[in-house]
Each structure stands twice: as structure tokens, then as C-alpha cells.
Symmetry: C2
Subunit: 172 residues, 2 copies
Amino acid sequence: MSRTKARTALLQELEAAMRRSSAQGVLYGQTVANVAGIANSDLECMDILYLEGRVTAGRLAEVTGLTTGAITGVIDRLEKAGLVRRERDEKDRRKVFIAVVPEAAMKIGQFYVPMQQAMEKVFGAYSDEELRLLLRFANEGYKGVLAATEALKSLLDTPPEKRPDLKLKKLR
Amino acid sequence: MSRTKARTALLQELEAAMRRSSAQGVLYGQTVANVAGIANSDLECMDILYLEGRVTAGRLAEVTGLTTGAITGVIDRLEKAGLVRRERDEKDRRKVFIAVVPEAAMKIGQFYVPMQQAMEKVFGAYSDEELRLLLRFANEGYKGVLAATEALKSLLDTPPEKRPDLKLKKLR
DNA sequence: CTAAATCTCTTAGTGACTAAGATATATGTC
DNA sequence: GACATATATCTTAGTCACTAAGAGATTTAG
């Protein structure tokens, strides 16, 4: 029992630590947007473009959870700033692909240097094997959060009175 | 050289994986705010109140990076929703402490259940020792991100022409 | 060839945000 | 103790990104 108790405490501490660091990560992003002089959502879209490459406007709406109308605004601003280009799909002319302009986007990349340096320092203290564990966790964590997001969204479509009444383990 | 190369690749993969999962974490938060019917910043403040306990309005502004005026709005909305209470400090009557109303805040806590369940499942696959490694990393990562945020902010105060010209290791 | 579906953009209206300053209280100096 | 300065929150006016609804353009299905 003292075994499980220790683990419970550990899990709780872990949850708090992850929330703290993830909250700080959000703040870092806000600061980058601020320094770069672009809106938060604009930066988020740049991030998606970096991770996914050339994507359609609709895909951006899907991933960010914004309406297509809002995305039009995002792209307008990013295009005006010279950070991305609209490219009509020749196969299906309804679609608009968004592509980053590499040279301009590098200016934004600069603002991630402090973060990269900090992370390099942190990672430096870990062995290859430990890093592999962290990688495994990051990937599994991603899948978990993705699934949780879907579960929560489906809750949105369920009328409140017939929701499966989530049980709280404890006061969050 | 092949050793270092493997590590470089590992670090790169790790960075991408962490960005992905942290981006998805942001989306989870947005979805919670949506389902709960409150603004994003309002939820962020609830989170801070959970992590730090009873704090002043000014502290909320400091931590979120919002102006005090914006925080007034946040608190107004949260108070109207019955989620927090304003409590004037009797020692220093200029200050206003914000305290969560536990019963009402639990309704928000519900929306974190899918996330908790997902994380429980993920964590379940790790030994106590591995979890301790993750905890160590989360704590060090937090400190790193915090420091990086400060470094970036100080960059904001430096006029662009005399910035120490950050060198990019590679296109982000 | 027409109807329905899909993708992006447009428009009008809303709400959270900032900047600047007002208000209230506290602290330091003489 | 009175006055100036500092600190903490709130108010106001104006701005900007967002949503909802629907229009326009193109593709797909019958």
C-alpha cells in the first residue's frame, strides 16, 4: 500500500509539473507572437505549416479549430507580412494550398532560438537511452492528448442532459 | 561521428514530437474553454488559480501577460459565472485576491477527465523509476522554458538594430 | 445537364484586448 | 500630520480577430 501510495503521489506531482511546463510553453508562444508582431493564431498556423508542410486553408481551419472565415483572415495577414504564399491547386481549383516563404519564415524562426538553447541544455544532461524514453513518452502523450481532445469534442455534440456524467476522481 | 549523428537525429525527432504534443495540448485547452462556455484567457486564469491558489489580480496579469484592464474583464466574467470570488485584502485594501469557488470550479474540472484518463493510461506503461525520470524532465523543462521566455522578453526591450543577432542553427 | 456537395471568401456584428488615465489606498519624507 | 510619490485595481474609448451565415466558384453524382 505504501508502494501504491508513493506512485499516486508521484503521478500527481507529475501531472502538476506537466501542467506547469505546458502552461509556460503557451506563454513562450504568446511572447514569440508578440515579439514577431503577429497574432497568436497566425503563429499557430505557421507552426502547423512547419510541422505538416504545404496544407490547404481548410486543413488549417480543421487543425486550429477556427472557422474557415477566420482562416481567410489569418492567411491574408501572413501573406501581407510575406511569410506565406497562396497557391491554387491546379487539380482542384477550389482548393488553396498555403506554403511558407522560407526566407521570411526564418525571421520568425529566430525567436525560437532561446527555446532551442534552453532545451539543448536540458537534453544535454540525458543519455541517449533516456532521450529515447522521453521520445517514446512524447509520442504516446501526443496520441493520448489527441484521443482526449476527440473524446471531449464528442461531448460537445451530446446534449448536456444526456452526457455520460463524468466522474471526477478528485478535485482538480 | 555516427554516434553524434544518431543523437542529433534523436534530438530533432524529440523536438518535433514535443512541439506536436504541446500544440495538441493547447488545442485541448481551447476545446475545454469551448465546452465550458468561457473564454480562453478565463480558463487560463482558472488554471493558474488551481496551481497557485488564491492570488491577486495583479499577479494574474503578470503571469498571463495580459494588462490589468484585461484581467478586470476576466475576473468580472468568472465572477458572474460563479467560478471565483473577489476578496479584498484587509491588510492592504488596494489588493484584490481572487479565490476559486470550489463547488462551481468542479464543473470545469469535469472537462479534464478525458485528459486525466488518457494520461493515466499512458503513465500506466511506465515504471516508478521511469516516471521519476519524466518528472525530473518536466521540472527541468519548465525551468528551461521559463528562462527562455525571460530571454525572449528581454529581447523585446532591446531595439531591433542592437539585438545580439541570434544565429539560427538550422531552419526551424 | 442539372442538383448537390465541397472549398474558400465576404459581410455584419460581437467580444476580448490594449493604452491611457481615473480612483483608492499605502508608504516615505520633511 | 501633510504632501508627494508609489502601488493596485478599475474605467473608458477604440481596435482587431473571431463567429455565423451565406455567396461565389468549382467539382462530383445522377
